[in-house]
């Protein structure tokens, strides 16, 4: 296990290094000079050159890259071209919104989808089993922003129970307000996420229910519950965990639409603004932090899968293959 951990960790670091090179090069390939964002329209060539010099975009690319790496090594994500504020603290304050939003929605989605998916498979011939499958079929077809609009119209505008959007200016120092403003976004993400998760849980459960080992266990006198607990759960959870990892990672930044519907100051909206303003350090910083998160989540998912399923132990990564 220790040897595997070392290899997997090395793999993670190499991926991160590769990803940062790709990130850096891709961003420099974008057209549009960030110096334009700093200077007023009709600025003289000298002013533009001065702006370029100030942000360092006149230096050769390798030098810019090593400079960025040096900053990263000392835990500095750089300084925004536009606001001249350091990126790191800004990312941290955005994470204060995005991380609770994503994790709560994720947990809620799992709490909904695992039992619902199991029932949808186990009771698939009953009306409520079919209903659950139907609801999830409907759920994956609903655009997340539209669900958000409807929830706002019903629970915020009509009923007036919850705020229609925004986040308190002082953030978590007003915990009650902060929680209230996150309720609808969390529910929105959780509903959409659980709709697709139900399908995965259902199909994993169907595989287990039709398996020979379950039939054998039952034939040897094990009760259904015991057979499911000892054999079914492990086997069904491996592919589901693989999907969970991907869902969690993509929700972290994919929350940008929900953040937009509810006007939340999250990581996704920070990135959107950064891209629109050609603010390299912001885009680079946000993408670096989120790539790191994606890799760490993949690492965790692989580890959990290996602990659950010994058959995967010969492999470096992944479960659903």
């Amino acid at each position: 296990m220790a040897r595997y951990l070392l290899r997997r960790l090395a793999f993670l670091l190499v991926s991160l290094a590769l990803a940062s090179v790709v990130l850096f090069v891709l961003l420099r390939m974008l057209p549009g000079d960030p110096a334009n964002a700093l200077t007023s329209v009709g600025a003289s060539p000298e002013q533009i050159a001065a702006a370029r010099h100030a942000i360092g975009s006149d230096k050769p690319l390798p030098e810019q890259f090593t400079h960025w790496l040096g900053q990263l090594a000392s835990g500095d994500l750089g300084t925004s071209f536009v606001s001249s504020l350091p990126v790191g603290p800004e990312v941290a304050s955005r994470l204060n919104v995005t991380v609770p939003l994503t994790l709560t929605a994720f947990a809620l989605a799992v709490l909904i989808a695992v039992p619902a998916g199991f029932v949808a498979a186990y009771k698939r011939h009953t009306w409520y089993g079919a209903l659950l499958s139907g609801v999830s079929q409907l759920g994956i077809a609903v655009p997340v922003f539209w669900l958000g609009m409807i929830l706002i119209a019903v629970f915020a505008l009509n009923a007036g129970w919850l705020p229609a959007g925004g986040f308190p200016q002082d953030g978590w120092s007003q915990p009650a307000e902060a929680i209230r403003s996150l309720v609808l976004p969390v529910v929105t993400i959780a509903l959409v996420m659980s709709a697709s998760l139900i399908r995965y849980v259902r199909s994993a459960t169907l595989d287990v229910l039709g398996s020979d080992y379950l039939r054998t266990a039952r034939a040897l006198g094990s009760s259904f519950g015991r057979a499911m607990w000892r054999h079914g759960l492990r086997n069904a959870s491996v592919p589901v965990i693989s999907v969970l990892g991907i869902e969690l990672a993509s929700t972290l930044l994919g929350a940008v639409v929900v953040e937009s519907v509810y006007a939340l100051p999250g990581l996704g909206s920070m990135l959107a603004t950064g891209i629109a303003q050609h603010d390299y350090p912001v885009v680079q910083g946000v993408l670096f932090v989120s790539t790191l998160a994606v890799l760490l989540i993949g690492f965790a998912a692989d580890l959990v899968q290996r602990i659950i399923d010994p058959r995967l132990r010969g492999r470096l990564s992944g479960g659903a293959r």
């Binding site: 079929q137 994956i140 993509s250 993408l287």
Partner: protein, 292 residues
């Protein structure tokens, strides 16, 4: 028995026993009806629209009726006209993205399937990272580089989906390549390209087609999301996403504009997903056996 019957290949009788087959075809039929409804709207919009797209004569935020089937939006434009153009954009977005995703994804996936050892690990890990990278962000980068057009959005969605398709094709093709008859074919001198064309693609296409149908639905949703954020087709092209975004502020006073595009969107995506389910049950012998 006519000549044509003799010449046509043997087919299983349509009256084969059991209700399951009927239920399968029911899924397919319902899916075709739902998606076909939207496709029909899109097709008609190419030749005829109730009003010109820039006609603002209808009075603002009028309710349904009075020459406007669904009423008008906040600029006085006919909502039904916009919904029709929107369906055309949605179908175009779905088709375009899936075409890009299929071309790149199948090529990359087949190539990756031949990779071994650490190269294989690297490729699959790279695909995993790409998949976890949200479509929307890729789209934002592409839109920033080009401009907010339907083409940029479709390109971004197609590229993001090609990673998903590539991963699936890689797994499926690897499974095929592990068979003894492939080794036999290869040792007897069958070329690389003939192996792919003769053995790999015919074996993976049922699963692939089902997945591409699902990707179509996802592409339609992604395009709507992008245009909701203002990163899709620019005005006056009424994408459903942008219509919804514009109607958000008047949801309680003029709900039709905030509901109609969403409902059509859901119908189209459900329809395509049902087609995918129906195709899976008809095309894939493995699930047919398991469910029977």
């Amino acid at each position: 028995m006519t000549q044509a019957d003799v010449l046509s290949p043997v087919r299983p009788k349509k009256t084969s026993p059991g209700t399951r087959r009927n239920r399968r075809s029911a899924t397919l039929v319902v899916g075709c009806v739902l998606a076909g409804l939207v496709a029909l709207l899109a097709l008609v919009s190419l030749f005829w629209l109730p009003y010109p797209t820039d006609d603002t004569s209808g009075g603002r935020l009028a309710g349904p009726g009075g020459g406007h089937l669904l009423g008008t939006d906040k600029l006085g434009r006919d909502l039904f006209t916009q919904v029709m153009t929107g369906s055309r954009i949605a179908v175009e977005a779905g088709l375009g993205s899936v075409l890009i995703a299929a071309t790149i994804g199948v090529t990359l996936g087949v190539l990756a399937a031949f990779a071994q050892g650490w190269l294989d690990d690297t490729v699959s890990a790279f695909l995993d990272i790409l998949i976890a990278f949200p479509t929307l962000l890729l789209a934002m980068l592409i839109v920033a580089a080009r401009s907010a057009t339907l083409g940029s959005a479709v390109l971004a969605i197609g590229l993001a989906q090609s990673a998903v398709v590539a991963r699936l094709v890689r797994i499926l093709a690897k499974r095929v390549l592990a068979h003894d008859y492939i080794t036999a074919a290869r040792t007897s001198g069958t070329s690389w390209s003939r192996t792919v064309a003769g053995h790999v693609l015919p074996n993976i296409w049922p699963t692939l087609v089902v997945n591409l149908a699902l990707q179509f639905g996802l592409a339609v949703l992604a395009e709507a999301g992008l245009s909701y954020l203002g990163l899709g087709a620019p005005p006056p092209n009424a994408s459903w996403g942008r219509m919804l975004q514009e109607a958000q502020a008047t949801f309680t006073t003029a709900p039709v504009g905030a509901l109609a595009p969403g409902i059509l969107l859901v119908l189209l995506v459900i329809g395509v997903n049902l087609i995918a389910d129906g195709l899976r049950d008809t095309l894939d012998p493995a699930t047919r056996r398991r469910r029977a």
